[in-house]
Amino acid sequence: MDQNIIKKCLAASKEMRKDVIRMTYNAGNNGAHVGGALSMIEIMAALYLGVMKFNIQNPTDEARDRFILSKGHGVMAQYAALKQIGMITDDELMTFKKNETFLYAHPSMNPEKGIEFSSGSLGQGLSLGVGTALALKRKGNETSGVFVLLGDGECNEGSVWEAAMSASHYKLSNLTVIIDENRLQYDGPTDDILSIEPLVYKWNSFGWDAVSVDGHSVEQLLEALSVKKDKPYAVIARTVKGKGVSFMENNPYWHNGRLSQQQYEQAMAEVTA
Amino acid sequence: MTNLEKYINAFTTTFGIGESEVEGLEYQQIKAWDSIGHMSLVSAIEDAFGIMMDTDDIIDFSSFEKGKDILKKYDVEIESV
């Protein structure tokens, strides 16, 4: 594996964590969906700095890979990744959740800024991915891939499984799902709220190839995402909600939380270390 | 044109087939006589004879031969070949 890419992803992950903490603090009393953004940092880094093709000069270039954030509340991590690749500036990042920003608390379709679709209503992104993958095949675009990031709690939604069935029915080998399996949802552990495990078996039984990896290991993510499949492919990324900040990790309170100045300083010190 | 000629003509023009193919023809036997083709055929027959057929008769109209029987109800006598 290309050590440079791994290094780039690791360095970017660190910056993205800082940016997520900054955005959360900057959002003030409104707070932000910080826990689920921190769990998907390495996934975003691996996709944006190691796996996906895009063209910053021409964000809607037909040859690009399509990324769809189905767990829209995790969008801070995507904004931070878009900053890493130069699609949005730090000034823009700091408008997150401010009036008149284009960086909403859930993504709003903005192809020029690399945001393919609006999301926020859970369970819809995989259908968009299936439609996009079918459309690419229909156009004869054999080289662009479609990547959809889902939350594990999001997999409670029935429409996810409708989409999963249709993807394998249409043999969408150009479609990859990554599941941010942080095992926590709004009200508590996924096992307590609505058991969704075992995810690998579920995706397998829906006709997908599926693999489980450490979702905070850039190496494992890059390796899993570089495999070419002849079926739709699900990468179950085992993650920790709030990863990188000791008081947030595995704590459902930080699904959506606000940071005091003291907490902000502690969090920044931890993710910078 | 005799009634038989008009009747055959409705089939050949609607389905784009030859006169030799109409004898014994049944609904769904050829691609053109699908549910949509059926309604086209009924319209063509209605135009040819100046009648309006009832829904039940349209549904019962299942073959070239059966159609001749049904048309009797509308005082359209199709001559034997």
Binding site: Q124, S127, A135, H169 | I36, E46
Partner: protein, 324 residues
């Protein structure tokens, strides 16, 4: 090209609005090479048997999964295609309402969602399959053009017109097989432009879908009673033709007639449009009352809800008497 000959129009009417849609669909690839059709296990019911054999690769069956179908259609639209998606109106509008809101409303993706058997035509299947909430739902979501053709000829026109609209469209199909014809020959159809089918000064009837035909019948009966009726075919419910609505203000009574609930449908749209006007006649809103009825066949249900020409005429007379 599809011909609006009297015999074709009669054939479409026989097939009903689903069949007419299916036949019109056959013309779509020639108009727009980007057309694809998605359905949720309703290929034949949507009249798409011939489309399937003529263009097998353009038809995507998504199974009994309407929410996913709308999302998949959104993906196609985003990538530059013109996706039509068909299902029962009940499921198009309510089962997948959130997908409709996010993809068609919020993102304005150019999905043409076709709601089959809206109203009472499949009434024997029960309230699950009847649809008299769909106009209310679609109208409440921003950015969606809502089309409601009066008969099968207009269904063909509206289908072809929908393909040319860039944004999202909801195409509401009412009526059963042997759908009565309002139009016997070719005419000009323009999205957003209502058609005045009959002029009159006492009463202005604004109708949509199958109720256009029944309203014309009512107008005929009323004429025999010395009541002169204008009848307007409001085939586009959103955007509403304000000129046509305003023109109705000159009458003694405005009557809206629809095979839809009286809450949120065409009647509501007209009433909302006129609410700010100081001078407006009273409005009689004819549609389905606020309840779910027994399952029954279509003619029976039309009668139950008072939606036949004769019943419409009676309601108009009563309203006029009350007014005097």
């Amino acid at each position: 090209m599809i011909d609006f000959t009297p015999s074709n129009i009669r054939m479409w009417s026989r097939l009903g609005s689903c069949g007419a849609f299916g036949l019109a669909a056959l013309e779509l690839p020639a108009i727009d090479d980007k057309v694809v059709i998605l359905t949720s296990d309703l290929t034949f019911f949507s009249g798409l048997e011939r489309f399937k054999s003529a263009f097998p690769d353009r038809l995507y069956n998504l199974g009994i999964a309407e929410q996913n179908m709308v999302g998949v259609a959104a993906g196609f639209a985003k990538e530059g295609f013109t996706p039509f998606a068909t299902t029962y109106a009940a499921f198009a509008s309510l089962r997948s309402a959130d997908q409709v809101k996010v993809n068609m409303g919020y993102m304005k993706l150019g999905i043409k969602l076709v709601g089959l058997t809206a109203g009472l035509s499949v009434g024997i299947l029960g309230a699950t399959h009847m649809s008299f909430e769909d106009i209310a739902v679609m109208r409440a979501i921003p950015n969606i053009v809502v089309l409601s053709p009066a008969d099968c000829a207009e269904t063909v026109k509206a289908t072809l017109a929908a393909a040319k609209i860039k944004g999202p469209v909801y195409l509401r199909l009412t009526g059963a097989m042997n759908n009565p014809s309002v139009y016997k020959e070719d005419y000009a159809f323009e999205v957003g432009k209502a058609v005045t089918l009959r002029d009159g000064s006492d009463v202005a009837v604004i109708a949509t879908g199958t109720m256009v035909y029944h309203s014309l019948q009512a107008a005929e009966l009323l004429a025999q009673q010395g009541v002169s009726c204008r009848v307007v075919n409001m085939h586009t419910i959103k955007p509403l033709d304000m000129e046509a609505v305003n023109a109705a203000r000159g009458a003694k009574l405005i009557v809206t007639v629809e095979e839809h609930g009286v809450i949120g449908g065409l009647g509501s749209a007209v009433s909302e449009a006129l609410a700010g006007q100081a001078h407006r006649p009273p409005q009689l809103m004819i549609g389905m009352s606020d309840c779910y009825c027994h399952a029954a066949d279509y003619p029976y249900l039309l009668e139950q809800y008072g939606l036949t020409g004769k019943q419409i005429a009676e309601k108009v007379l009563i309203s006029l008497e009350r007014k005097q």
